[in-house]
Amino acid sequence: MALKTVLLREIAHSRSGEKGRDSNVSVIAYEMDDYPLLREQVTVDAVKSMFGAITKGSITRYEAPNVGALNFVLCDVLEGGRTRTLAFDESGKALSSLMLGLPVSVGDDFVGRGERISKAMGGAK
């Protein structure tokens, strides 16, 4: 099947939180059926391509198949942690939206989240 590239946000949602100097960024499939695609494509290397420049420590991926999700822990990404960082986003709560810009490859007939919501709302945009 022919493939096309979409942003991760068409397949998954995400929330990021702070753990001292580290952040966690979850990646959760909207549809459980898409979890294997996340496992295959949202790899540590893929995440490194997005977060590598600001992550001074390791990047670890954990799997939570029960909720169709991956959880990434980015070590030393907050420039010392919330109380001592000079970063403007001191708690890293905005990091989830960086994750959602990751390009992923899907089948040509894949209908993304945005289009599905738009259709459900009556198609007008």
Binding site: R15, A64, N71, V73, E79, D89
Partner: protein, 455 residues
Amino acid sequence: MKRIRIAAGSAWSRDRFEPGADLIARGDIDYLCFDAMSEVTQSIAQVARLNDPRIPPYDPLLRKRIAPILKAAKERGVRIITNGGWMDPAAAAEEIIRIAEELGVTDLKVASVSGSDITDRVRDLGLNFVESDKPVADLRDKIISAEVYLGAEGIIQALAQGADIIVTSRVGDACPYMAAMAHEFGWSIDDHHNIAKGMIIGHLLECGAQVTGGCFADPGYKDVPDIANLSNPIVEVTEDRVVISKLPGTGGVVSEATCKEQLLYEVQDPARYYCPDVIADMTKVRFRQIAENEVEVLIDDAGLPKSPTYKALVGIMEGYMAEEMVLFAGPGAMNRAELTKRLLEERFARHSSQPTEVRMDFIGINSVHRESTPHVVDDPYEVVLRVAIKADTKEVVDTLGTEVDPLAVNGVAGIGKWGTFSPGARTRAIVGLNSVLVPREVVPFEVRYLECAGG
């Protein structure tokens, strides 16, 4: 069959005040838990108290949270659990008794659970910091606070003794919720699976609206109805069923998606979520939407025995920081912002004492995702140059203002300034947080009771 309903009154010290009263009035709840902290709350309070000893050693918003709901809570039999006791839960309990007396609330029993504060001991326990593996004792003179995340045992004891209100120092964020369940269902603290179940439910509720539509809305992808009127969550627990919901007629949404986001929030390894009383396996949890804004939480055996240590946060005085902003818009905005960055770098370099760290960002361009920002806009209509610096002394940090303020007359064209009201007003002390793992036996907890008999 036994059925209890627990609600989240607040998720941290500066959360909204409105949901608490509404939950008591309409929520048919048995327990209302107020988280009144964040990681930095206590260390910042310690610094403030150094400068002004009249500041109370507990949450200064305690009265504002408790006074409006105390009477209704007592009348309806809603028990309140809060970690707003901060450094001195017993003093917070006295304040609650004062509030009760002023309101004419009688027959009230208030318990305080203390013991978390180990500031006096932490230097001499032979511990190393988790982050650096360096001895805590090396920073002896810089340590300003140290507090352990206590477990739920003190709260469970107080509930068994009939306390209406329990005020604690730092405890695991989910512990107040779990304690209510352990008390009601008679779970032993060593009953790993049930304690883990209670902590997972508590974890889902402890961030308040983050499971009812807060931190969730992304228009066109994840829409949240009436987001201005978010409700905080309610959990209904029976022996065989757990359901998260919210008050009818409020904004927000409770869905499998909101629950999944909150399940993994601030989690490292989902299979090993460390709590004071247990290790919980979040991969044993599933969600099922059973009605609009009602999600059933299905938890298989998810408990592992607790680790031999408590986690503690250590606050360390680490100098000062300050930030400034300079504003640009219209044609050539980016060029003028970049020129300003270069001229500031040149002027800073002339100072004899240099900051330990400098960060310059262009807001609107790369300030949020920093060096990981995927692409840079070439010619934005407006851009803000943000400059932040850090140094060991206040004098060096104040040089930021010394160089930024004069830009008003000797900077580039069309330069806007963020209002500065007084010199050095944006300089603040840094309290860095490190963590240590503390053997349980050096952290006893203490439960005390105060009663307001009245009548």
